[in-house]
Amino acid sequence: MWKTILRRLLIMIPEIIILSVLVFILAKAMPGDPFTGSINPKADASQIHHLMRVNGLYDPWYQQYWNWIVHLFHGDLGTSYEYQEPVTTLIAQRGMNTFWLALFTMILTYVIGLPLGIYAGSHEGKLPDTLVRVYTYITMSIPFFVVLVVGVWIFGYTLNWFPTSGSIASNANGLGSTILSRLQHIILPGLLGALFGTVNIVQYLRSEVIDAKSSDYVKTARSKGVSTKNIYQHHIFRNSLLPIAAFAGYSITGLLGGSIFTEMVFSYPGMGLLFLNAINYRDYTVITSLVLLYGFLNLLGTLLSDIILSIVDPRIRVE
């Protein structure tokens, strides 16, 4: 198992190299430059040319790429043109914000989704199942950004229960009030994200439970004289959780990428918003670093999913 994980990690290296080249070229192919919008509009065009030259942006792409890679290996992702801060510092700050929101959202998603899915599946066709299905149809058919905007409007501006922007209050000091303030900022986006993002889990689990109920091994268990309660506990639940486990890995790393909608509506300074701004401002160093990071997280998610699945399903062995 460990050998396999190590080998999979080694295979990731060439994948990441290819990804980095692609990302770099595509970022450079975007029209525009990082300076036009940020210097005095009356400035001479030659000043922009000067800045481009000084920053090495007129060098051939392979030379720029090489410089970037060399610095990357020294742990230096460059400096953001927009924020004038090292990209590593930026990602560390924003990543931390996103991490807390993602963790909170994910826990809530599973806390809401697992019982709903199992309950709906085991009561197929009855009232609770119908209610759960109505819930999933509603959450699936409303665009998420509408939910966010309406949520902020009702619970933020109108009722004033939750802050409407930022990740932490500026006057929070001391451990207790820091945690409290952070929590206050993530409850609403986290709750909305979970309530509207849990549909997949509910629907998957529901249909898995229904499938498992009519499976042959459940028939065998019944012919053994096992009670319905024990059949659910020992046979149906675990088998139904397999597909959920299969995409758990992706969802963990996927959430770390941040949600652009959530972060925009809540002005939450996370990775999603950072990425969006970087694209708008042609902040090459940030774009390339983030895309590379997302790529890496995706590969890691695949590996994580495989590992989780091989733990819960003996038929799948990572070899």
Binding site: S223, G225, H234
Partner: protein
């Protein structure tokens, strides 16, 4: 051939099982009267869709009461199974009646080790300690001729071959030494050499435990080998019930005779096989009056069939449905092309 056959172990009286399809109930098995004695093998034969498996799952009480309606009496060891609640039924299933399923791969839980799947039966029906249960699991695996039982007990179903999996299913079925074993096409999913081994094993176990067996199959060769008595089912009804000698030496019902005629004979390679025209009607399209098999033997005129065919006794232990058998003959035409 076998030890003395004793009193009735299981008696079915007018058992009907109906399934709800689009809001209406349709009879999948119709007025079944049967009995099984201890230490005897009763074979149930018929085409796919005749209600053989439905009969088995009806006896086991495996149908969902929400869309199934069962009437009649299923008397097992003095109690009517249909009167039992779920909890009481669970004390009989697995303990007094064991069931062997058709497809041994899907019948085993893919996520559970072999050992614990066998142990589960013991857990709910015996007072053995964990250690004794594990000991018994090993004994059972030895009894179904599994080599290296300790290792196999720790493996998962997908790691075993088809034949081994079917042995595991048998081990589960016999774990509590049941009085009755229902084997629903136990060899259908296996290749021929393994089939013979599994049937041998079933026979050995039946003789050791003095159990009654209901053997559901569509393989007449298996019937001839293994069974004491045979019930031939067609479209949910028993059309002929006889001892194995009577059935093979003196088949009466046109369906039985058609089945026997469609078996390949070892010394007639060049003859074309007899094929029964058409197929078993679906539940919704069952004829409400007349012989259900009539539409597949169109050359027998309608007045030869009874309007409401009943079982007629033609010999001790030999019953045939409908009087059409009395002047039935196969048409003299070459079939197939």
């Amino acid at each position: 051939m076998r030890d003395e056959i004793t009193e009735d172990l299981l008696t079915l009286k007018d058992v009907n099982t109906s399934f709800k399809i689009d809001g209406e109930y349709y009879r999948a098995i119709d007025a079944i009267n049967l009995h099984v004695k201890s230490n005897e093998v009763l074979a149930i034969v018929g085409e796919s869709g005749c209600g053989k498996s439905t009969l088995a799952t009806t006896i086991m009480g495996l149908h969902d009461p929400k869309n199934t309606h069962i009437s009649g009496e299923i008397i097992f060891a003095g109690t009517d199974l249909l009167q039992l609640n779920e909890k009481q039924y669970n004390q009989i299933r697995g303990a007094k009646i064991g069931m062997i399923f058709q497809d041994p791969l899907s019948a085993l839980n893919p996520l559970q080790k072999i050992g614990s799947q066998i142990e589960e039966v013991l857990l709910y029906h015996t007072t053995l300690t964990a250690q004794q249960r594990q000991q018994r699991v090993i004994e059972l695996l030895e009894q179904v001729d599994i080599n290296d039982p300790k290792r196999i007990a720790n493996q998962f179903p997908h790691q075993l071959s088809g034949g081994m999996r079917q042995r595991i299913i048998i081990a589960i079925a016999i774990a509590c030494k049941p009085d009755l074993i229902i084997a629903d096409e136990p060899t259908t999913a296996l290749d021929v050499t393994i089939q013979a081994q599994i049937l041998d094993l079933l026979r050995t176990i039946q003789q050791e435990n003095q159990a009654g067996i209901i053997l559901i199959t569509h393989d007449l060769g298996v019937v001839a080998e293994e069974a004491d008595r045979v019930a031939v089912m067609y479209a949910g009804q028993i059309v002929e019930l006889a001892t194995v000698q009577q059935l093979f030496n003196n088949p009466k019902h046109p369906y039985t005779r058609s089945l026997l005629r469609s078996m390949p004979q070892k010394d007639s390679f060049n003859d074309e096989l007899y094929v029964i025209d058409g197929m078993v009607p679906s539940l919704q399209k069952l004829p409400t009056v007349g012989d259900r098999f009539a539409q597949r033997i169109p050359w027998v005129s309608a007045d030869k069939h009874e309007v409401n065919p009943t079982l007629h006794q033609v010999a001790p232990e030999h019953f045939v449905r409908c009087t059409c058998y009395q002047n039935f003959s196969f048409p003299d035409i070459k079939r197939g092309a």
